[in-house]
Amino acid sequence: MIATDRLADVFVDVADTLVADFDLVEFLQTLTDHAAAVSGADAVGLVLADHRGALQFMAASNESGRALELFQLQAEEGPCRDCFYSHEPVVNADLEHAHDRWPTFARQAYAAGFRSVHAFPMRLREEAIGALNLFGSEDVRFAAEEVRVVQALADVATIAILQERSISRSEVLAEQLQSALNTRIVVEQAKGALAQREGLSVDAAFQLLRTRARSQSRRIVDVAEEVLASRTS
């Protein structure tokens, strides 16, 4: 069920990112956290397409969300891919009865304790740039108006990703996505370096990067670049 009382907070947060110095990594992380909180989903993941149209993992509300996205990317099947290619949401899919539709993914997700899945395309005009996935450990059903709310979140994410410059040309879109995908790699590298330096797990290292970025009012990717600065030659 959608927690409509939390929606206002979500959109205020999102609006803030549109006016402030935009931090894509923090934004996508926050978006997946918000989507989970608002929808009651147990895991939320987000993928973006690169310039070849190949989906790449970008963010997840937790480790389960990340694993479920990676299952789909590896198996080359699942609701995420379906909604990305059809440009239409996949809602209320019951994983217990989805073996015909997604033989590998449905089995893996079910085994990991998930029962329902919903996927929302991130659309820009005629194109899709990625997808937002919600996973539930119970067979959660969304009503039509709830589908529209989550789709609105996905649309806002699309606008935020592409808002750094006005998108009048497809070349800018491809460039923007390529930069976004590389930003994630920078953060992964910095998580490893910081984890090793501070004796932390990589997840704790990511939290440290977020905290530092927030306290210094800087973008996570800039803090990540700084962590790696002495080691990039």
Binding site: H51, E175, S179, V186, E188, Q189, K191, G192, A195
Partner: protein, 228 residues
């Protein structure tokens, strides 16, 4: 390099050049060019000390210039020299892998033009191929692992994390870290992903062994460090 000639032919550009960034300065050295005219055009950025490749190196983002004369406010000396040399459009893409900035791929046109979505995808692909090629050639055993197309650019998260961990463990750069992980995977007969997962979990720690591929002993399977 064949890659430059192929990229030029695929996009109808007059020439394509791959440059390597120097770790010590902002200058870039030409690694390969489809032709000598394009090589000379690229070198105008060294002589003037400015231009799209310099900006790409700083920002890590592509710089697409469909009409170079219009950019004289941005790079006054470079635009004057390049227009004189017959350059009308230039498209420059970073060769990077996360925070590792390797160099740039630049495409030149003798007439003002943009890029179609397909042409842009080709150049992004070729930039990825060049990145993979350069990263592979820094490995100790480039023939053995990482043959998949664009493999170095699209690795799984754990490989990037392991790369960061190994930079700290061995005090080396990101490129060296990746080549050490690859060499270790090859020497131990391990899959790159599997080794990266072990490194991230703290089950494997690379030692500062300069020649892992010549080590006749199988790699120990026991944990060498404890997971936190």
């Amino acid at each position: 390099m064949q890659l430059c000639r192929t990229a030029a032919a695929e996009t109808g550009l007059s020439g394509v050049v791959v440059t390597l960034a120097s770790a010590l300065s902002s200058s870039q050295a030409v690694l390969a060019a489809s032709d000598e005219v394009s090589r000379a055009r690229q070198e105008l950025q060294f002589s003037t000390g400015e231009g799209p490749a310099c900006d790409v190196h700083t920002s890590g983002r592509p710089v697409l210039v469909p009409a170079l004369p219009a950019e004289s406010g941005r790079w006054p000396a470079y635009v004057a020299a390049a227009v004189e040399a017959g350059v009308c459009a230039v498209f420059t893409f970073p060769l990077h892998q996360g925070a590792l900035r390797i160099g740039a791929l630049s495409g030149y046109s003798d007439h003002p033009r943009g890029l179609s979505t397909g042409e842009l995808a080709v150049l992004l692909d070729r930039a990825g191929d060049a990145t993979t090629h350069i990263l592979d050639s820094t490995g100790r055993d480039p023939g053995a692992v990482g043959r998949d197309r664009a493999e170095s650019v699209h690795l799984r998260n754990e490989v990037y994390q392991a790369q960061g961990i190994v930079t700290e463990q061995l005090g080396v750069g990101l490129a060296e870290a990746l080549s050490r992980i690859r060499a270790h995977a090859f020497a131990a007969g391990l899959d790159l992903d599997a080794l990266a997962i072990d490194i991230v979990a703290g089950r494997v720690r690379l030692t500062d062994d300069r020649s892992p591929t010549t080590d006749p002993e199988p790699r120990p399977r026991r944990p060498e460090t404890e997971a936190p």
